[in-house]
């Protein structure tokens, strides 16, 4: 690991000032991803600014009814929070389906949104990886890629986002709030992750030097019946091969409102807007759910070893929506 300076910020302004003009400074929160990548030599910061002492911890309801999750709230605290469990249960389910108890106690909500891919070639300095070293190529396209992306990928990068938490964030139209020395800003999560294109190393639209301060869940998006389901290669403590977060409102057998987001299939959590459009106003039947899933996945471009994700995603969408109806 490379040497680095460490400081602990106690005010947001100080944290922002400590990284200004330093391309190689990083904010440190739980460290479950950053310290791991530093040990592997993927991340080589000169300076770490610890943000866990900032007053950005905890969940509260805003005056307009939105739920505000502070950036440094741990994954454990978010998952256990009564209002999240009551109004946004798919978010609790997703967080609890991720990592281990120890890691959830360390990892923060903002850190989770920013976590890097678990593509083995990204973590291996001897492999080509356009995300780690732009222009070096992608070892996964012709390599081991059974767990890689089927949607939205490019020849430059087929890595997936490993986050469970971000999938229901996409479902619930979460808003990412940040601060820079120029002031405060916010980004709807649908615009937070960049398309891969030929710049897979640029992952989010967060401005340089910005610190995420909170993530808000709009009250209008609450879904008491929302669900998250995850398929993985072992029963616990593994990243998703495919996961689905969904919410559905049915009146007299017709779909009034539907939202679907997928994990494990793309470089970022994937909102299945084509499937949603197919379903809205139509009959809420398993056959329609399946057809809508197929419409969404018609644009998928599987690699030689991850075609199984197509059927898996289709079946998962169908079964989660069917579960919510019953």
């Amino acid at each position: 690991m490379k040497e680095f300076a460490y400081s602990r910020a106690t005010a947001v302004h100080d944290a922002l000032t400590s990284v200004v003009g330093q391309e190689n400074a990083r904010f440190l929160a739980g460290g479950t991803n950053l310290v791991d990548l530093m040990k592997r030599g993927v991340e080589t910061p000169d300076r770490l600014v610890d943000v866990r002492a900032l007053p950005l911890d905890g969940v509260h309801e805003a005056r307009n009814g939105d739920l505000v999750i502070g950036a440094t709230t741990t994954n454990s605290d978010a998952a256990a929070h009564p209002e999240i469990r009551r109004r946004y249960p798919a978010l609790s389910q997703a967080v609890l389906a991720g990592a281990s108890g120890q890691l959830r106690n360390m990892a923060t909500v903002a850190g989770n949104l920013l976590q890097r891919t678990r593509c083995a070639y990204f973590a291996d300095l001897s492999s080509a990886c356009n995300k780690r070293v732009p222009g070096s190529g992608c070892a996964a396209v012709a390599g081991v890629h059974h767990n890689h992306a089927i949607l939205g990928a490019s020849p430059a990068c087929v890595a997936t986002s490993p986050s469970d938490m971000a999938v229901p964030m996409m479902l619930f139209d979460a808003v990412v709030h940040y601060e820079t020395l120029d002031g405060k800003g916010e980004i709807p999560i649908s615009r937070f992750y960049r398309p891969v294109g030929d710049t897979p190393h640029l992952e989010t639209t967060l401005p340089d030097g910005a610190l995420i301060t909170s993530v808000t869940l709009p009250s209008a998006a609450a879904g008491e019946r929302s669900r998250y389901r995850k398929v993985r290669e072992r029963a616990s403590y593994a990243f998703a091969t495919v996961s689905v977060a969904a919410d559905l409102v049915v009146r007299s057998g017709q779909v009034r409102e539907v939202r679907i987001a997928l994990g494990g299939v793309a470089s970022h959590p994937w909102r299945a807007r084509i499937a949603e459009e197919e379903l809205r106003g139509g009959p809420a039947t398993p056959e329609r759910f399946r057809a809508a899933a197929e419409a969404e996945l018609s644009a998928a471009k599987p690699l030689p070893h991850n075609g199984y994700k197509l059927r898996l995603a289709r079946n998962l969408i169908q079964s989660v929506l069917t579960e919510i109806v019953h």
């Binding site: 040497e3 310290v35 256990a80 009551r86 249960p89 609890l96 389906a97 120890q102 106690n105 360390m106």
Partner: protein, 180 residues
């Protein structure tokens, strides 16, 4: 080594304060094992995947291999050496001994610290991925084997002592329920 690559820190471990000058790269695990001789915490993978280095920081179980020592400055750290109270083993430690919750023992200190964390999390009403209904209005459910397996999934045991570990944690949970 430049000066700002090192830090003077105080680590509070099992109730004792240790003043150290550490390289900022030092993990809490290495500071425990190498600098303060708390060798009960074990280094398995060193990448946060096996749980052998689990300790309690401010009452919560964490992996000490992904915690920087400098970032643990000021926190209360409890290692396996600090679990017993006045030389009295905790119920979960007793249960591990009685029910053979180990074979080679390498993962045991992490299993024990994790189990203490699991019992506290469950007592605080935290659900898990296998809890059938996450609604906060549900009555408190006692732990069962599925819950223990899920909550302890961050601690690997290459000997495969899992069945005995699950029994030991369940027995300790019952003991704590009775005492509550």
């Amino acid at each position: 080594m430049t000066n700002d690559a090192r830090s003077e820190i105080s680590l509070h471990i099992n109730g004792t304060t240790h003043r150290l000058t550490v390289d900022n790269r030092r993990t809490l695990l290495d500071a425990l094992r190498e600098d303060t001789r708390h060798i009960g915490s074990k280094k398995g993978c060193d990448f946060g995947q096996c749980g052998a280095c689990t300790v309690l920081v401010n009452g919560r179980r964490v992996v000490s291999c992904l915690t920087l020592a400098v970032a643990a400055e000021g926190a209360e750290v409890i290692t396996v050496e600090g679990l017993a109270v006045n030389d009295e083993l905790r119920p979960v430690q007793e249960a591990f001994v009685r029910l053979d919750g180990l074979q080679c023992g390498f993962c045991t200190s992490g299993q024990l610290c994790s189990a203490v964390g699991v019992l506290a999390e469950h007592a605080a009403g935290w659900p898990s991925a296998v809890t059938p209904d996450l609604s906060p209005d549900q009555p408190h459910r006692p732990l069962d084997a599925d819950e223990v397996r899920e909550r302890m999934s961050g601690n690997l045991c290459r000997c495969g002592a899992y069945p005995s570990i699950v029994r030991a944690v369940l027995e300790a949970a019952e003991c704590e329920e009775v005492n509550r």
